[in-house]
Symmetry: C2
Subunit: 369 residues, 2 copies
Amino acid sequence: MERPILASMDIDAMRHNLTRIRELAPQTQVWSVIKANAYGHGFAAALKGLALTDGFALLDIQDARYLRENGWKGPILLLEGLFSADDLKLAFMLDCTLVVHTESQVAALETFDLTQHQAKPRPIYLKMNTGMNRLGFSPSDYRLMYHRLHAAGYAMHHMTHFANADRVDCLPSVGSQYDLFNEAITDLPGDTSTANSGAILWHRTVLGEWVRPGIMLYGASPSGSFADIAHANLKPVMRLSSEIISIQVVKKGEKVGYGGRFTAPEEMRIGIVACGYADGYPRSASDGTPVWVADGGDTSNGVICPLAGQVSMDMLTIDLRAAPLAKIGSKVELWGKHIPVDDVAQSAGTIGYELLCALAPRVPIQLVV
Amino acid sequence: MERPILASMDIDAMRHNLTRIRELAPQTQVWSVIKANAYGHGFAAALKGLALTDGFALLDIQDARYLRENGWKGPILLLEGLFSADDLKLAFMLDCTLVVHTESQVAALETFDLTQHQAKPRPIYLKMNTGMNRLGFSPSDYRLMYHRLHAAGYAMHHMTHFANADRVDCLPSVGSQYDLFNEAITDLPGDTSTANSGAILWHRTVLGEWVRPGIMLYGASPSGSFADIAHANLKPVMRLSSEIISIQVVKKGEKVGYGGRFTAPEEMRIGIVACGYADGYPRSASDGTPVWVADGGDTSNGVICPLAGQVSMDMLTIDLRAAPLAKIGSKVELWGKHIPVDDVAQSAGTIGYELLCALAPRVPIQLVV
């Protein structure tokens, strides 16, 4: 047996979340975003749980190759296009749809000899920067690039990305970005893809023809706050679990862990859990972050035991006062059905996305079907 | 070509740091701590750069197997011992030295039929909890456990771990832990291992027979502050680099990225770098975090360009005003020789350890010899 830490991926929950997206966006097709190793869940889980998606969107052409080798025959969207023109042939061989966001990508596509590598016009999503100021052409440059690629024989579609679909108080607003986008593509044929998870949940008038959900496929919140999706009927896919590997009885006033951050307010038991920041649990989690512990033999009967002391590389420490029956070997859930990953993230000053993606390779993954 | 991100490991720097440890602790032997995939650097790098260590200390028995399969014949220390008694046979077959920190581990060793699996007495490091309150026996229980294992035929050694070797203002102090330890092992034969990197650098009277450096092998600071090791003659091993993949010209008052956190104070260029939190760069890094950018074709001629806007999953955005010659394809260092990883960590509210360990599997690793 290795360390008792485990990440279980609930395939049914993933299926459920995709179904939920179809309910929320019934007129659209779905690019399921599985970049960053499917937000830490692994491509194997994604291929199983999202088998009914219309297409997969990802970053790295090697991941596209993995999908093809593992039987995926539907569309694949490379979200940042190609990092080198040398990959064009491979991309078309793998039947990828490319995002194009720089002039050099346009030029490479223009000079590529399409006739040798296609049976049908190759689809391109041209990316417009409508205020995110990350990738894409300004609305004024956009039309020119569109016409250049259209003239070169590509099947053109439109894309932009919202900066604040999960926020109400930040600029630019979804509405202003969407208006700018629509104005710039007036009279230009092609599908549109604009909506990330936040837009699917909270801005259902800007969905376009293809939505691009990411975080909601995995049952976490676009805003980083679980309260925002508590009634959205999404199910968490990843469960990070481990066990108590040691228990210390500390006296009143004794310190726990590096820097002695936690001081025992009375004589009490501290549980040491085999999970640390090198597993992906955030080091910045503050004392009080909820951890679920099976109290006694019945693993369904759990209680919340707050984090007590600085998370270290391979272990974390919890206050066991609420779990008098917990012992070495007791099951612990760091996040999953009992503890939303967003709650752990908030307690660490970040969002669930970062924790899911940061799941370390040393944590074994189990698919639960 | 895949995404331009790359982690280069400087093998000479690793060798240098080990030599430096021997200068600082000349009378001791060295357990090089390579848990968490050698703090993110990979076991291949560790085997090369630390070939002259006296022993390797790690966590997972599968990693011990990897070392043996790749030619390491010296001592291997399993820092948390075994997670299951079923692994005892494998551990001894791999000639591992075990840490023992619970009574159940003691009991398993007592009942194990040593005569079948040894040519020499098996070495054990018994772990004492002297105030860290994580793993180990209380000083009062320690002697009993020592005698039980000694009677069962094991070669006994002593270990404890400091909670505050890198801090001056926290309890328990190194001195108080060390005194407690020495008092408890009075008259008990065996080597001692107490000193982590912080103790090797700043508490050279508590080194024992075997030191256990971790973070300093990789050229980062035990305290999390680069200033604390600026004159210690350690060299950073990991360099995380990438490239600018897009440039946006934003007008005064325009926002950049999610939440519009950065507002342009004037018309300026924003560089988009192919590195995000799913690569291991911390999402919590604040605006102003230093990023090194090659300004022009000469890659040795770089300038610091501050982070400008929220780090996203696959990209980050920087203020290019100091780098007028930077363009798409310009080289970027996120941390390494120009930017201490500790500086990035501090700007994100954490320590270098966490960033190094969190290097994502999707980032290719290159050994630089």
